[in-house]
Symmetry: C2
Subunit: 406 residues, 2 copies
């Protein structure tokens, strides 16, 4: 008998029929002899309905009261799912974030979990019940309701799995696993059976938006086996877990891409200490997140400095950079919002030199010019013109032996 945490998002519980289908999935897991904790989100559309009500009252409602309002969404789902389970003959008990004992800090709308006192949940499991937990919500020391922010239900699921020392945390989504590349781009993309936390983090942050980064970090920290699988289609999904030897033998796990970035360059700035912070300081102050940063050795005591931001921040970033350029007496600024980032990710590359040169050779063969390069221990990213997105991803997928049937 194992203890399994199953998490279902808003789409999976978006109607009474779907809630009943989720109940059947839960019961199937029980029938395999497992104890089950289910974590659910608000029914899809419900959060938007509640937000619309609050916006009729205030353009910027107070964060404390917004959490009180939004947390009702999951509370409705846990009650309905527990009823559905009961109706199918399965004893179930629902718990709000407060009832579970999910203690968070007091940062409303993006609280962080501090501790879980899972005593009541453990008791209910011992009593042979399925436990249904409201995702996305907790309670702070004062007893105020908090919410965890985007992807919060994933975080709740992983945190519950950690607190209960569950054997596996299953995240049900609308895809049936993590793929070696986006199947909409590469029709030969394969579902990955197992992937290491680190690789998943690189894949997620690079645009494979299956899981929230935060929940993968959490799972890694507490060593929880995470499985991504489909609500609507049977299958084993993808297991995200600690790396093992077999993983090392796979050179490259996948080709990720991100089409949400834009590139900003400031040319001819004085090559003196502190120049990077004088450029990026005002950008950070404007709450613009920066991804890649590249500074080359320059000529004549001046250098070019390039970084990427989210496309939504492109215009604002360009404006700020123009001011900085004037202040620093730089030669000028340039920008490009029609770029993409393509990355190869794999634990195996740590012990295999030559992945980078192979990647660059593949792109060169296809006539794709590389604008920026950035590397980490287990990934190499390049920025190229967005018109090369499909060509580049497919060429790399094939070259690194990831195509289905290979």
């Amino acid at each position: 008998m194992a203890l399994i945490v199953q998490k279902f998002g808003g789409t999976s519980v978006g109607s009474i029929e779907r809630i009943q289908a989720v109940a059947q999935k839960v019961i199937a897991t029980c029938k395999q002899g497992h104890q089950v904790v289910v974590v659910v989100s608000a029914m899809s559309g419900e959060t938007d309905r509640l937000l619309a009500l609050s916006r009729e009252i205030s353009p910027q409602p107070g964060a404390r009261e917004l959490d009180v309002l939004l947390s009702t969404g999951e509370q409705v789902t846990i009650a309905l799912l527990s009823m559905a389970l009961f109706e199918m003959g399965c004893a179930a008990e629902s718990f709000t974030g407060a009832q579970v004992g999910i203690l968070t800090d007091s940062v409303h709308s993006r609280a962080r979990i501090r501790n879980i006192d899972a005593l009541r949940v453990s008791q209910a499991l011992q009593d042979g019940k399925v436990v249904v937990v409201a995702g996305f919500q907790g309670i702070d020391e004062k007893g105020d309701i908090t919410t965890l922010g985007r992807g919060g239900s994933d975080t709740t699921a992983v945190a519950m799995a950690a607190a209960l020392e569950a054997d596996e945390c299953r995240i049900y989504t609308d895809v049936d696993g993590v793929y070696t590349a986006d199947p909409r781009i590469v029709n030969k993309a394969k579902r990955i059976d197992r992937i290491a936390y680190e690789e998943m983090l690189e894949m997620a942050s690079l645009g494979s938006k299956v899981l929230q980064i935060r929940s993968v970090e959490f799972a890694s920290k507490y060593n929880i086996s995470l499985r991504v699988l489909s609500t609507f289609k049977d299958g084993p999904g993808t297991l995200i877990t600690n790396e093992d030897e077999s993983m090392e033998q796979v050179l490259i796990s996948g080709i990720a891409h991100n089409r949400d970035e834009a590139k900003l360059t400031i040319r001819g700035v004085p090559d003196t200490p502190g120049i990077a912070s004088r450029i990026l300081g005002p950008i950070a102050a404007a709450n613009i997140e920066v991804d890649m940063i590249i500074q080359n050795i320059g000529d004549d005591n001046s250098t070019n400095f390039t970084f990427t931001v989210h496309r939504n921040d492109y215009c604002r970033g360009l404006e700020i950079l123009q001011n900085i350029a004037e202040e620093l007496g730089a030669d000028g600024v340039a920008g490009d919002d029609s770029i993409v980032k393509i990355s190869v990710v794999g634990l195996g590359m740590r012990s295999h030199a030559g992945i980078a040169s192979q990647m660059f050779a593949v792109l060169a063969e296809e006539g794709i010019n590389i604008q920026m390069i950035s590397t980490s221990e287990i990934k190499i990213s390049v920025v190229v013109d967005e018109k090369y997105l499909e060509l580049g991803v497919r060429a790399l997928h094939s070259a690194f032996g990831l195509d289905e049937g290979d």
Copy 2:
């Protein structure tokens, strides 16, 4: 500075505009220099929406989960009202039943309040905040969410007033007070300024459905001044409080009526000890509530036994009574579901003989035959044919000097 509890029902908070109007009423009370605790129900329609969802899953959903589901209704309202108050410049903080510390027993869907630990609410009031409390809900010893059943928000308001030793508990409704008779029947009916708890209880149970009996009992027990007033129309309303000398001087406070009853008679039953319980035992076992009971001294060792039930229970009651009649060898059964009960209520009648005979004389003058009579210390009720309802109520209202302008 007084501490005022204000309670607004579902209709009063049925839309964003109405919630904003409630916020203005609350702020007006604050501006008079008072501390305010607001108790609110779910927005009208919301409870039905949630019930409909649950019925799609189960014809009889479990009571524990139904309470989890329904309690979200008031939670939405407290958040929205707090936002509205804040938007109008008034610091407010919302509290669910659990957060207030409304401890109840564990009888889901009709829990009773055991204790209120109002520490957090007192603190918020001391901090100069308006406190917004979810009506209708509490929490049991295990930490499970409970609901108080019909009229539960009134009960929450009175219980909060008791726990906080508030100066007054104001119940906002769609009528502007308690009247000497139903204004739809007696156009000369007057709003009553002050009425004693006992009188209100007799009025309420007799069909003046302004307040739930339970909340009046609660107010009486803890000596809370209750005021009934209109959400939509300004005015002083009716104060329900301890009797005082001025009240004693009013002979009759009002004429109540109830058109929801039906009469059942079993004729010629043996006039022996224990007969009443042999008749009413099976009625009670069928969960039929009995109001008036009359047994006259009979002839020839047999007697007639008559009682009234809710009209909805008339057919079922008649059926049961026919079985009983056979068992007891009674002469037969009879019934009538076109009756009404008319009552005169007043503290003053305790010290004034002759109210009953005056009442009977007034009815006789109008040619109204009295079918049943029942009395308590402060009320006299008669059952008459329902066609005499308007005639009887108006005649009594006038005869006892209650007409407007008298």
